[in-house]
Symmetry: C2
Subunit: 340 residues, 2 copies
């Protein structure tokens, strides 16, 4: 058990060729049932373990999927990853996970590393600032499946998986309007990313639908860092505008804002109504409970995983890149309830 056993060792011991060993262990049809049993059994007993380095080299395939996410440690993203891992693991794929930490450059480096590592596919949720997508060309050139989820971009033949952020943004905004808001602030994320521009567009859609005027002061672009909530509060308080509703692009910001406002004596929803995004568990803990849009991360991960696996299995034509839209759902809670 000390030195590693190779198929050559097995071959010598059993008086067959290494080729036969290899075929037997891979259940190749041209090996008789008897020798298969003999070989598998002996391999077992001898403590043989395949050397994937060698197998990968000759097969040019690693059974590994690369994943790049902005950061691992967020409720949403870790749910997604959990879903992806569940599916991948069930299909004998390993996951190499790396974080871009919202840096375009790190995303680029990670992309190259994962390419070099020979991943069979790559799944990406883009960093805030990524503007150039050339680093993905390697994958396209080599026809390695490439899939984007949540923060996506549309490259030829690359499936994308998201919710309908525009519709969701409109739903959230419409909900505030229907509960009486006339002047709504939208606190969004970087407009380079589809998820935030779409929500923003949906926001304007809804205003428009209800004949409410959109002014630049109705929007703030942020990096969604809850630690900087005071900037938002300042904008809110110092603005000439009197906002009666806020639509946040994520729950963490919404909650941070609520806490600050409540401390300052604001009443929610009486003075101002608030809705978030993502349905993070904290939305059900904050008092009053936070209305939000349910964005099912785990399910998204599962779908993304299944999609990439079927591509890898050739079940789906690589050329036919589908765009999957998950269902979202408005969850109305106390933070936005009508008060008249």
């Amino acid at each position: 058990m000390d030195k590693k056993v190779t198929i050559y060792d097995l071959a010598k011991e059993l008086n067959v060729s290494p080729a036969t060993i290899s075929r037997a262990l891979n259940d190749h049809p041209s090996i008789s049932l008897n020798t298969k049993k003999r070989i598998v059994s002996y391999a077992q007993r001898s403590g043989y373990r395949i050397n994937k380095f060698a197998a990968n080299l000759s097969k040019q395939k690693s059974n590994t999927i690369g994943v790049i996410v902005p950061k691992l440690n967020s409720y949403f993203m870790s749910s997604v990853l959990s879903g992806i891992e569940k599916v991948a693991n069930g299909h004998n794929y390993n996951l190499i996970i790396s974080q871009s930490l919202e840096s375009e450059n790190k995303e680029k480096l990670n992309t190259q590393t994962l390419y070099d590592s020979g991943v069979d596919a790559l799944m990406v949720s883009l960093a805030f600032g990524t503007e150039n997508y050339d680093h993905f060309a390697l994958f396209r050139d080599q026809k390695i499946p490439l899939l984007f989820f949540d923060r996506v971009c549309h490259l030829p033949n690359c499936p994308t998986i998201t919710i309908d952020n525009r519709k969701a943004g409109a739903d959230a905004t419409e909900h505030l309007i229907q509960n009486g808001c006339k002047n709504i602030l939208h606190v969004g994320g970087h407009l380079k990313r589809n998820v935030y521009t779409d929500r923003f567009t949906g926001f304007k859609d809804a205003l428009n639908k209800y004949g409410l005027e959109y002014k630049p002061s109705n929007f703030i672009e942020t990096n969604l860092d809850a630690a900087k909530i005071e900037e938002i509060i300042d904008h809110l308080i110092n603005s000439k505008e009197k906002f009666d509703g806020i639509f946040f692009a994520n729950d963490a910001m919404a909650v941070a804002c609520m806490q600050s406002l409540l401390k300052k004596g604001y009443r929610i929803p009486e003075d101002i109504k608030i809705i978030g995004f993502n349905n993070n568990p904290i939305s059900e803990i904050i008092q009053p409970n936070l209305s939000t849009i349910n964005y099912p991360g785990y399910e998204l991960g599962v779908l993304a995983g299944q999609s990439i696996i079927s591509h890898l299995n050739g079940n789906i034509n690589i050329e036919s890149a589908e765009s999957i839209l998950l269902k979202h759902e408005l969850i109305a809670r106390a933070s936005s309830s009508s008060t008249n």
Copy 2:
């Protein structure tokens, strides 16, 4: 750019041997500066990319670290992973992450897969039910560094990284006692895992220190699934005991319990004082804010990453397995504050 370029292609083109190409690209000292430049430059231009399958095979090293966690999608664990990834990435290591989903069997399978994948090291946080550690023998036999974090077991030469859970459990309990609690319930996790037995032991330490009697009814073993909070509530309400304090082994359970109790009309901390564990962000959102023990996940991840990297670099003797204890910290908030 279509076919993959190999060192043999470069060698032919530049009229040198593949060996020289390899050495040049790896900055080997025995290659002259000039040829190095010539080779590196041409490799660049030709779109050469190393084939790690081949490199790994001949070096028997993958620059990859395997990680097995119970589940990815928890605040604590995703923080840990984020820290590990940060360090690993900074040292050119990739991370293969898999979840045991609290199943001993899946943990076993994942261990074998990661072994076969040729990870250079393995980091594990154990599943709830794991009782047998034989699946790690492969790693010990091959002298592949193996490290346990958070939910650890003590195998020879395996570093472990945790906080001092016993002391932390005692601190939490002592805090409740000092705030007037006389009859405290401890809601813990599976006693197979050190983190929960240690917290439980600390709990009893503290009772003992203050001359409070420990009775079996002062403890419930749970799987820490917040969805099953009603069982706890039942125990609490139906017990002959009149508990005036609860020490939860994690914040999620504590928060779920608080929500249920508040809904039932209990006053916290007046009727019952509560302390959690982990310092999950929700502890600062629930009203009243939840007292807890700060268990710094990200820092733990960073330390764990650094530890394994130094082992891999040979900076630390593999035989000298250290046990790292992180500092924890009691965070007193309103949920446990004295009311007399």
